[in-house]
């Protein structure tokens, strides 16, 4: 049993670290916006989306943390394997949460429907995590090709961005509008503006950590490629815009584009100077509170100006983004030298 206890302790440690990375949500621009700017009723909608988005990664099978080859090499007999299988789900706090919910439901303090929904989501997350889903770009193998020498860099960045939770949070916001349109429910014009801002804000943390998924290997390759920094950033910006534009199509795409350009213009600096590390299937790291506020304010202003007054306000947004990419690109080149 001492062996099993040691393995379970290691699993608890790994699970705790993993959950800390999921809770990077605390510095997320959309989360902060929902707390400080939105009223309780509107905020609840955002929290439900966050709940759905983070429940899956939180519900992963803890046994996935042990490499299969290592598990089969350990001198554990059949009985110990079964005990480990049976006990390991309890390493995950989500299992305890569902058990507590079940007790409340039995006492009539929570509805059976809520219990079924939560348990269903957790079990789905648990089962899905056991499936052989590719760790990196494999899920998005068939992204389109682009003309020019930046083709493969854009494709890489697109695949990287599509493996962050930010995109799916923005997608749910965007889909909610499509749902309204399909149901032929009237959508106030101002609501389109607000949801557009929210979609861009949901993705704005990624604009602060554009190199997050490249890692040290990526830094080395960028240093070796005969490419100037601004071109590396251009590939990343194009990938970012290629995700945002379709998401804002059912909303206010030109206004969304303006907001996205401003998110990038403000985000370049942190992306290059601080280079926050990103983790796949997690929210992009958002630890820079002041920059986050600047981004949210900038996105709101740019989006509103284009939406309420004129698409011509897009021009200064393009100039700001291009200027910022050029400046951050120079810094990027200098940092690579050291």
């Amino acid at each position: 049993m001492a062996r099993l206890a040691t393995i379970l302790r290691a699993l608890i440690q790994a699970q705790t670290r993993d959950q800390k990375s999921i809770l990077s949500l605390a510095g997320n621009n959309l989360f902060i916006t929902s707390i400080f700017v939105m009223g309780p009723a509107a905020g609840v909608f955002i929290y439900i989306i966050f709940g759905l988005i983070i429940l899956f990664p939180l519900s992963t099978d803890p046994m996935r943390k042990i490499p299969a080859s290592r598990l089969s090499l350990w001198p554990l007999d059949r009985r110990e394997h079964w005990i480990l299988r049976a006990l390991s789900p309890w390493v995950n706090p989500m299992t305890w949460a569902i058990a507590a919910l079940a007790i409340w439901a039995a006492k009539g303090k929570a509805s059976v429907g809520l219990l079924s929904l939560a348990a269903g989501l957790v079990v789905s997350g648990f089962v899905l995590s056991s499936l052989p889903i590719p760790r990196s770009g494999g899920l998005w193998r068939h992204v389109p090709k682009f003309p020019g020498p930046l083709n493969q860099l854009i494709r890489k960045d697109l695949r990287g961005m599509l493996s962050t939770l930010d995109v799916y949070c923005a997608l749910l916001l965007s889909l909610s509008t499509i749902g309204f349109r399909l149901a032929r429910l009237p959508i106030p014009r101002e609501a389109l503006l607000i949801i557009t801002v929210l979609v861009v804000v949901a993705l704005s943390n990624y604009a602060q950590s554009l190199f997050g998924l490249d890692g040290e290997n990526g830094r080395v390759r960028y240093a070796l490629l005969p490419l100037q920094g601004w071109r590396v950033l251009a590939a990343k910006d194009i990938a970012f815009l290629l995700v945002i534009v379709p998401l804002t199509l059912p909303l206010a795409p030109i206004s969304g584009l303006a907001g996205a350009l401003i998110a990038l213009a403000i985000g370049h600096r942190n992306s290059v100077n601080i280079r926050p590390t990103g983790i796949r299937w997690r929210f992009s790291i958002g630890i820079f509170l002041m920059d986050g506020f600047q981004q949210v304010a900038g996105i709101a202003i740019a989006t509103s100006l284009v939406f309420l007054y004129s698409p011509l306000f897009l021009i200064p947004c393009i100039a700001a983004c291009a200027g910022s990419a050029w400046w951050a690109g120079r810094t990027f080149d200098l940092l690579l030298d050291n």
Binding site: G137, G138, Q152, K156, L213, G215, A223, P226, N338
Partner: protein
């Protein structure tokens, strides 16, 4: 040609590379040997512009190697220590990226990619993402990326480690034919047999300092003995518990 004079790199008080001065002439294959932590990779990083030097000078292809200029990057091929591969690109996409970034036309890039994938036995894995590839496949990919633009100088950090014997032979043959056409090749390794097979020049370092620089043919004893004598002798200690009955 590769040349450096008094090249030094310090990390705080620690001198990882201490006053290195050497030269590698056109068409020479130079092996750079030393134990782990001796400063091999640090030197290679400085020569390829990946790391700034604390002091000293380095020249590659007639350009200042420490400037990390785009022009220098265009002329050299590098297999870096950590390979520099992107998880989100397949093996073939890495080569396609190299071709387009180095300005090769599509047809040339395609032809060279197919040839390199074939000779390095990477064809079966061309559509595999780097993150899902074995260490050997990853290394071969990075090696192919170094060769694809037809560089004027080649820098390779431990190219033969984790490589199967057949591909290792192919790589050695490729390096010899490149060198025969006048391209200097500078590589680090721990595999002494590879040094004996292809290198003409040998540089050995210990604690950041050169302890030997000369032709491989001038090594007075076996290369292994020479290495033990100058760089590091093996620690001979009997582990009595190993293989004894378990308590």
């Amino acid at each position: 040609m590769i040349a450096c004079r008094n090249l030094t790199r310090s990390f705080g008080d620690f001198k990882a590379v201490d006053n290195l001065t050497f030269e590698v002439k056109q068409g020479t294959i130079c092996a750079f040997l030393g134990p782990n932590g001796a400063g091999k990779s640090t030197t290679l990083k400085m020569l390829t512009g990946l790391l700034a030097a604390t002091s000293g000078e380095a020249e590659v292809c007639g350009l200042n190697a420490l400037s990390n200029s785009v022009e220098l990057k265009r002329r050299i091929g590098v297999l870096p220590e950590d390979l520099g591969l992107f998880d989100d690109l397949t093996i073939e996409e890495h080569l396609s990226l190299t071709g387009s970034v180095y300005g090769l036309d599509k047809q040339t890039s395609r032809t060279r990619t197919d040839q390199l994938l074939r000779v390095l036995s990477l064809e079966h894995g061309r559509n595999t993402f780097a993150a899902a590839s074995s260490q050997g496949m990853r290394k071969k990919t990075a090696f192919a990326m170094a060769l694809l633009p037809n560089p004027q100088v080649l820098f390779l950090d431990e190219p033969f480690e984790a490589i199967d014997p057949v591909t290792s032979k192919v790589m050695r043959d490729l390096l010899q034919s490149i060198a025969a056409r006048g391209v200097p090749v500078f590589f680090t390794t721990h595999i002494l047999s590879a040094v004996e097979q292809i290198a003409a020049q040998l540089i050995m370092i210990r604690q950041g300092k050169i302890v030997w620089d000369g032709p491989v043919a001038d090594v007075p004893v076996s290369l292994e003995q020479h290495y033990f004598d100058l760089v590091e002798a093996p620690v001979l200690e009997e582990l009595e518990w190993l293989g004894s009955p378990r308590s």
